[in-house]
């Protein structure tokens, strides 16, 4: 059972490993993808796009209260 699972894992690993090794234009694309993901998830998400309600309030009750306040007195700047 264990041996069979190991063989399957090895096969899957080799499948991906050989696939990535054989890539040429794909390497360029992966570079684009990785740079893009870094910018999106590290730079943009961390520094520019905090989740407003999650970062300002501790629990859902406080978030509900805040949004309810916004909905009933939306003239608060």
């Amino acid at each position: 059972m264990f041996k069979r699972a190991t063989t399957l894992f090895t096969k899957v690993f080799n499948f991906y490993y050989d696939g990535f090794r054989a890539m040429t234009v794909g390497k360029k694309l992966w570079a684009v993808i990785l740079i893009k993901l870094f910018i999106i998830f590290i730079v943009l998400k961390l520094f520019f796009f905090p989740d407003f309600l999650k970062t300002r309030f501790e629990n859902d009750e406080q978030r509900s209260d805040y949004v309810l306040e916004q909905l009933t007195t939306p003239n608060t700047k």
């Binding site: 794909g26 989740d51 309600l53 509900s64 909905l71």
Partner: protein, 513 residues
């Protein structure tokens, strides 16, 4: 109320969302459309065993891969924007969006990311049929991903299957099937994905025409043109059918959008459909139909909107001022009901806090009676229920005009291809190449009609866009707007450059993806 909200912030938040969505939509149509064409081509290869079809499939698969790789995750940014710029909205809709977006994420991850690897790496490593099944699963996975996000968008245009909880300030799902099977959602999904197939077919025609002009890859180009023109023609015809269905739903659920689409200020019995026209600038001010010129099909708008040639189509004046005879409530009356809903929601909140439960129940009852008009309570001017008429009018007519032109193009190209007469028609081949950007213009115009046309609403009748925004500084939104403009432009240039290099290299000269 709405007059006190920082309009610069709302405008920048809207501009940023629009910019992100428009750029994201440069990548999506090709992914949705090419995935099915590739699956179809590979099916021919597996059934006939002819190597030429394997070669053709691999060529288009490479271009699909480039587009997929560059476009992947660009949609995630929209979700970031929900959390930062649209927190009131995100909280308000949370429970409704949670399920569709979670399913979208899981499907996209498992179906696309697993089988896309088999599709690209597995040509000589797995059996032909397993490879083919993977290719089809990638196509279905990509299109299913689109289903969930389009269901979420349709819900904003027609919020069904939910109830607003005044304690948590969130919408709660009552009926999952009502959300995903609402006629607005079904039409939106079918219309959007098939219009994407049209864009993909135009892309294939563009690339193949270039090969014919260069007298290169003739076999690949000719076979691809036939497949693209059949796929494009069927899709474009289906787009027309679902477009009719979408317009019918707009007439029922978003009458102000329909009036703006047609520049219809005065309601009419047996209203005509404007094929093309140029509205005069004073039409909006006077709320009167006034065109420099127009080409109109009599009674067609009534027929398409209500399936009756003599049906009454409400104009902008009916919707703002009301029409007792036609039983149309004025925007002013809706605003009053909306203000009552908000005031009773506020009273409910305060009574509940001070534990005056009887009074809280009474306030809640008033709120529930008027809650379907809640969004109107944030507006001050009845005219603010009208979207930007010139933008909605022109983008709609550009979309429809181009859509009809695409049907004609696919028919002509198919006819000439089948008769083997396309190769030497150099001028036509050059013209065909220009239809690819026109495809994007039509597709983006469709989204502009959908989104600009539903203003002032983030959620139809319930939440205006201005109230949906987070109260952060407009300058921070402006900064990220510029960042996105730069990032997406770089990505688009990268895609175009890599794509052109690969097309110029051809199926043999190209590199392995």
């Amino acid at each position: 109320m709405i007059g006190n909200i920082d309009i610069a912030l709302v405008d920048w938040s809207r501009a940023q969302f629009a910019l992100t969505a428009i750029y994201h939509w440069f990548f999506v149509p090709l992914t949705l459309g090419l995935s099915f064409v590739i699956a179809f081509m590979e099916t021919i290869y597996v059934r006939t065993g002819k190597e030429e079809w394997r070669r053709i499939t691999k060529f288009w698969m490479r271009l699909f891969g480039i587009n997929f790789a560059i476009g992947v995750a660009t949609g995630i940014i929209l979700e970031f924007e929900f959390g930062t710029n649209w927190s009131n909205y995100s909280w308000f809709v949370g429970d409704i969006f949670g399920a569709p977006l979670a399913i979208e994420g899981i499907l996209a991850f498992f179906l696309e990311s697993t089988f896309i690897a088999v599709m690209f790496f597995g040509w000589n490593k797995v059996g032909k049929k397993f490879h083919l099944a993977s290719t089809w699963l990638v196509a279905f996975g990509a299109n299913l991903s689109a289903l969930w996000i389009l269901v979420a968008n349709a819900w904003m245009q027609n919020p069904v299957g939910m109830e607003f909880n005044p304690v948590t300030a969130r919408s709660e799902m009552l009926d999952f099937w009502a959300v995903i099977m609402s006629p607005v959602a079904v039409n939106k999904f079918l219309h959007t994905i098939t219009s994407s197939y049209v864009v993909a077919a135009l892309f294939m025609l563009c690339v193949s025409s270039w090969y014919l002009l260069k007298k290169r890859e003739l076999m690949l180009a000719k076979k691809s043109i036939i497949i693209a023109s059949v796929f494009g023609l069927l899709s474009a015809l289906f787009v027309a059918v679902t477009g009719d269905g979408s317009a019918y739903m707009v007439a029922q659920k978003q009458p102000a959008k329909l009036a703006a689409i047609e520049g219809l200020y005065q309601g009419k019995t047996g209203a005509g459909l404007i094929i093309f026209g140029v509205p005069k600038s004073d039409a909006h001010k006077n709320k009167k139909d006034n065109f420099h010129f127009k080409l109109e099909v009599p009674k067609m708008l009534s027929l398409l909107s209500f399936r009756q040639a003599d049906a009454y189509v409400p104009g902008i004046k009916d919707l703002t001022d009301g029409n007792v005879e036609k039983n149309i409530m004025s925007a002013g009356e809706k605003i009053e009901k909306g203000k009552l809903a908000i005031a009773s929601l506020s009273a409910f909140k305060n009574f509940k806090k001070s534990k005056q439960l009887t009074k809280a129940d009474s306030a809640l009852r008033v709120f529930k009676e008027n809650s379907s008009y809640m969004g109107y309570g944030y507006l001050n001017d009845p005219d603010s229920i009208i979207p930007n008429v010139p933008i909605t009018f022109y983008t709609f007519h550009i979309m429809v005009g181009l859509g009809l032109l695409f049907i004609l193009l696919f028919m002509v190209v198919l006819y000439l291809s089948v008769r083997n007469k396309l190769d030497n028609k150099k001028l036509l081949l050059r013209i065909i190449m220009w239809f690819f950007p026109l495809g994007f213009i039509a597709s983006q115009s469709g989204w502009i009609v959908t989104e600009v046309g539903r203003q002032p609403w983030a959620i139809q009748d319930l939440l205006p866009t201005a109230v949906a925004t987070t109260h952060i500084s407009a300058s921070s939104v402006m900064t990220t707007f510029i960042l996105f403009a730069v990032l997406f432009t770089v990505l688009l240039i990268a895609e175009i450059k890599i794509m052109i290099t690969q097309i110029k290299a051809g199926p043999e000269g190209g590199e392995h993806v």
